[in-house]
Point group: C2
Chain length 384, copies 2
Amino acid sequence: MRDVAVIGIGQTKVDEHWGKSLRELAGEAALAAMMEAQVEQVDSVYVGNMMSGVANAQAQLGSLVADWVGQRFTDAVKIESACSSGAAAFRAGYLAVASGDVDVSLVVGVEKMTDSPSNEITAALATAADADWEVDQGVSFVSLNALIMKRYMHEYGWQGIDFAEFSINAHANAVHNPYARFRKPITESRFINSPMICDPINLMDASPIGDGAAAVVLVPAERLAPSVIKILVAGSAAATDTIAIHDRVNPLWLSAVERSSKQAYAQAGISADDIDVFEYHDAFTIMAALSLEANGFAEPGKGPALAKEGEIKVGGRIPVATRGGLKARGHPVGATGMYQIVEVVQQLRGEAGETQVRHPEFGMAQNIGGSGSNIVTHILKRES
Amino acid sequence: MRDVAVIGIGQTKVDEHWGKSLRELAGEAALAAMMEAQVEQVDSVYVGNMMSGVANAQAQLGSLVADWVGQRFTDAVKIESACSSGAAAFRAGYLAVASGDVDVSLVVGVEKMTDSPSNEITAALATAADADWEVDQGVSFVSLNALIMKRYMHEYGWQGIDFAEFSINAHANAVHNPYARFRKPITESRFINSPMICDPINLMDASPIGDGAAAVVLVPAERLAPSVIKILVAGSAAATDTIAIHDRVNPLWLSAVERSSKQAYAQAGISADDIDVFEYHDAFTIMAALSLEANGFAEPGKGPALAKEGEIKVGGRIPVATRGGLKARGHPVGATGMYQIVEVVQQLRGEAGETQVRHPEFGMAQNIGGSGSNIVTHILKRES
């Protein structure tokens, strides 16, 4: 397998884009990535998207996007694994180039959620869970996460306010990201006084939906001049878990997260300690805590402690959500994994402005589908 | 890239499976393929499916199927390209093994359509077309094909009855396939007297929906003993066209079909003349005609002539729909491409019973997404 480099990135602001269609959003990010990469033609297109069939009455986004950005006759498909669709598409693009099958891959994550009534989007998000054994019993996606959080608080003795730092950090970082949906800081008092959504998850524990797209262009590293600073894919690993939470021995341990990142660390020849920046999947604060633990950054039950000690901030031991994370940049589900990749590339290039991590070498992006049932982890490396 | 072999196949009957869930259908085909392959564990799972989000309130079929067939912790995603989702998933599985990324891939195509009201399925099928510029104007997927067929008849002088042989051949072959939905022969008089759906497409021009799943297991060919008869993937190529038909210079020429098969022929080192059996995408009889032409089996406008001359029957120049095709085996959209692959494997192995083609060496399966907008072509080869 060949080394693969990211040579172009593009993204739209996460927002309520009522004036832009699904293809226009995807095209804006894709063409920005192609312009930056100075690439006019690509060999294959991978579109990460979860719910376009339900929310936009549009399937075959592969053809839709390829057509719209002038790439007729390419190989183009949509890849879906619920909330980790974006990273799964990146992985498909990576494998296509790494294998030698193609030389230039375009990967786009796109989701357009705010045109639909919110009850439809709640139902669409619930398709990430087990339709027969979870959703048909009346559980929504938020309430599944609330059940996990409640159990976690019971088991480890944390209170709701102990999760505040995850959201405060995300919002503080989003202030400096022009592509983030919510560019305003929040305080601990704002956090604890925010409306309860599904006990114990309050509004500030939960990431917002949104419309958005993010894209990259991938090529074999050997195509780049030796003198150029390269952003390489050093690790790419996916792992599934049971789709229903009740089928897991321990619902508080994300086994597939552990599997996926261990494999990615091994591919990159590093350990968790070597990760300089981590774009994690903070769809809910409980997911932020659990993912820090399963990835080896905190002991079981100690995720909130890491946040309270300030170690998740830029400058801390493991900076997370450095561009706002799902919480404040926004979570257009099928696009999120690609936003994470784009943000890690910004960090490794040194283009992250006020929230730039100092001289990062390894950045990790991890996208979680369902309630920990489909994990896709990537480690990118700066090579100068 | 390594040579890849199909070592196990499985399928369910295409039917109204009201007693089986989506995962049960997929599992039945997948476990049959794994049993035949004598494989207990796979490294990755690719699920071809178009409309589970809309029709079954279920996303992330990768995790769903992997979990159900006991493959927790694998790499698993859903691949979607409308009606060519099945073949696109096969291509993903093929590339994963060919590249050396994994050693054992499970590919499943599954669709469950008959639980939903037919107006919902009509809307779901229309998501294969351009939502903004075709469907929002009031065109359904059938009416798009009717427009193409009308133009074709006008341009080349054919009548409705001239398309009868495509359906008669498909039904005649399906009689002998236990997995086909409609196992009864039809006559020319039955064809011409069947109800009009959308002029000029009548009921017998159109393939039926259905529930079903088909699956294969893929491994590197080098893993097999030299003495074993091998079914190898000799060509795999995908190409997109404009998603909207009105954007094409000539709506009667499937350019992406031509691109895709030319590339697959080149990979296999053969020409159209060398194909011994062809599972084509006869979603409508007009698609059967256009695909015979764009693949090089008939001159432009001469597809119906080839059928009328009996050349598409088993024993003819290019046997098609040998197990019933989309028309009579049935068209559970996201599963169809995998049924085609399974049927070509049956032919190459000599397991096609009464509709066995004599000593085939090369078999082609071609899956068409949308109205010719996403084509995935595979050429399989028997190597003894």
